[in-house]
């Protein structure tokens, strides 16, 4: 995947490697790098995913990091159907129509 100058991309920086992390973090967290992800427009002529590049962010900061996504979008959703909650509506309607409160 190739990004060209001016493309909206996502980069990742390792802000702290695991051995640089603060002493007060839990052990499981301490074993991981502390990473940042930031979006911006590619400043370099071109870059492929996995390579280092420079971006200009929305506030005009020029920063360096590894390209991890090109033209990132949002695909978060309302989740899958959750069958466990179906009873709630039936229960409440029954109670309010004078049925049992159980």
């Amino acid at each position: 995947m190739l990004a060209l100058k001016g493309d909206w991309i996502l980069i990742e920086q390792i802000f702290l490697t695991s051995d640089q992390r603060q002493s007060n973090v839990p052990i499981d967290t301490k074993q991981t790098d502390f990473r940042l992800r930031i979006k911006g427009f590619l400043v370099d002529e071109k870059c492929v995913v996995g390579d280092d590049c420079t971006i200009s962010t929305k506030t005009g900061r020029v920063i360096f990091g590894k390209l991890i996504d090109i033209m990132p979008n949002y695909d978060h959703s309302f989740g899958d159907y959750v069958v466990e909650t179906v009873y709630i509506e039936n229960q409440l309607r029954k109670m309010l129509s004078g049925g049992s409160n159980e």
């Binding site: 802000f15 702290l16 640089q20 992390r21 603060q22 007060n24 973090v25 839990p26 499981d28 967290t29 074993q31 991981t32 790098d33 502390f34 990473r35 940042l36 992800r37 930031i38 979006k39 911006g40 962010t57 929305k58 506030t59 005009g60 900061r61 949002y74 978060h76 959703s77 309302f78 989740g79 899958d80 959750v82 466990e84 909650t85 009873y87 709630i88 509506e89 229960q91 409440l92 309607r93 109670m95 309010l96 409160n101 159980e102």
Partner: protein, 472 residues
């Protein structure tokens, strides 16, 4: 010297430049500072805050009686009991939450002081609120979020908040799990010279006092009397502090009840636990530490000091909040939350123990949407191996299970012993100042901090330090 230490060593210098408050001016001793003087001199009056908020589409949100829910409360209560429940629909604010009130004042202040941009460290609705206000006032904006775990898995609610922030034209810096986010935040403040729109500044708290005052005035207008209780979802302490101060400024001395989601057992800085919780705020992971030690924040002295204003503190389970969130949609036609519904779940239970001529107010709601919606959170939890079941919510184990109450009467508000919190607060002070000799001013300050008498503080200090310890 490593990168972290070199930035942390300059913490006070960076924060002072980024917020333009000389906090140390209010220092009275090693322990004490003059909180009221700081609020008076550096904040905004409630009237000024109202004017600023009106100019940017914030405040004057609807106060709604939840009539169907009140019928349910009535059914579940003993004769003569079952208070009327009202909800302040703060989702109607610009950017969809009460956080717009804080942001309106902070960003206005940044503009007035001539800053070119604003930075806030928040994974919550405050990010969107600050971004929206910066859009209105033409300031640059960076929001720093804790967002994904070491596997690169994002919390869906925080993704939605990032989307909203970007929708308002701001930059988002997303971090993996860990307290070093604060170092990134300081580094950004230092390199950009932007304003620190802290959640804990006197400006932010002053902005939120309008909410407490509106709650009281709305209830007086609608019912002709004062509320008996206001229930506040509690995390960092600002919502509770400011709502209580606003109510007091309206001349109302109702009971202020804090409510948090019970996430005991999960470590807030654990990479493993990060995506095993279904609430990103309003939970005990913030509520307890910020009550015990409010100055753990991103300012020298936090303006959010919850223990001063808390009359009661109750906990609810994740499953209880999800149930009440569904009930709010199905019975009242309001899709909101979920985190903002923490206080609603608590109020639903508390109302049943109050007289039927009393009024209980839930002082916020928040917008919902993809990622934030409780269905998204339950679905995400299931995919992470959390067991979802119906039964007794007391059996819920955060990070392992979510138990939806089998019946609405199973929703309960579990009381926290405030004296234990006060003792923890004092223990924290003793830990930070092990060799301090308390003077009278310190004892008065600690009494104000703990909302207790000087005598109580003296007795507690003797208890904590051992027999023979003299406090003055």
């Amino acid at each position: 010297m490593n990168k972290v230490q070199s930035i942390l060593d300059r913490k006070n210098e960076i924060l002072k430049k980024a917020i333009d408050v000389d906090f140390l001016k209010y220092k009275q001793s090693e322990i004490a500072f003059d909180y009221e003087k700081m609020m008076e001199e550096t904040g905004y009056s409630i009237e000024e805050a109202e004017v600023i908020q009106r100019s940017v589409g914030v405040g004057s949100t609807p106060m709604l009686e939840l009539k169907n829910m009140n019928r349910l409360i009535s059914q579940l209560s003993a004769p003569g009991f079952g208070a009327r429940l009202f909800l302040k629909d703060e989702a109607c604010n610009l950017s969809g939450s009460f956080k717009a009130r804080r942001a309106a004042i902070s960003v206005y202040h940044a503009k007035k002081l001539g800053y070119k941009g604003v930075i806030a460290a928040t994974s919550g609705n405050y990010g969107a609120a600050v971004a929206a206000m910066c859009a209105k006032l033409n300031l640059k904006c960076i929001i720093v979020q804790e967002c994904f775990d070491s596997q690169g898995i994002y919390q869906p609610e925080i993704i939605e908040k990032a989307r909203a922030i970007e929708a308002y034209g701001a930059e988002v810096v997303q971090c993996s799990v860990g307290p070093e986010l604060f170092v990134v935040f300081l580094d950004l403040l230092d390199t950009t010279g932007y304003f620190n729109a802290s959640l804990y500044s006197p400006y932010g708290i002053a902005g939120l006092e309008t909410l407490g005052m509106e709650c009281v005035n709305d209830i007086r207008r609608l019912t002709g009397k004062d509320p008996s209780a206001i229930v506040v979802t509690h995390a960092g302490g600002g919502n509770l502090t400011a709502s209580a101060r606003g109510a007091l400024k309206a001349g109302c001395h109702c009971t202020i009840i804090a409510a948090s989601v019970d996430l005991h057992g999960l470590h807030m800085a654990s990479d493993h636990d990060f995506n095993r919780k279904s609430f990103t705020t309003g939970h005990t992971g913030f509520g307890f530490p910020f009550a015990i030690y409010p100055d753990r924040s991103d300012v020298i002295y936090s303006a959010a000091r919850a223990l001063r204003y808390m009359d009661r503190y109750v906990l609810v389970k994740q499953g209880e909040v999800f149930y009440i969130t569904e009930a709010l949609a199905k019975l009242e036609g309001m899709e909101r939350g979920p985190a903002g519904n923490t206080s609603l779940a608590a109020a639903f239970a508390l109302a049943q123990g109050m007289k039927d001529d009393e009024i209980i107010v839930v002082q916020e709601s928040e917008y919902t949407g993809a990622g934030k919606h409780y269905n998204a959170q339950l679905s995400f939890a299931k995919n992470n191996g959390i067991e979802i079941s119906m039964g007794d919510p007391r059996c819920e184990i955060a990070g392992t299970s979510i138990v939806l109450p089998a019946y609405p009467r199973d929703i309960q508000a579990q009381e926290v012993d405030l004296n234990l919190l006060r003792l923890s607060y004092l223990r924290q002070q003793l830990k930070m100042h092990p060799n301090v000799v308390f003077v009278v001013e310190d004892l008065i300050y600690l009494a104000q901090e703990c909302n207790e008498s000087v005598e109580w503080i003296q007795k507690a200090l003797v208890e904590l330090k051992g027999a023979g310890y003299e406090t003055t």
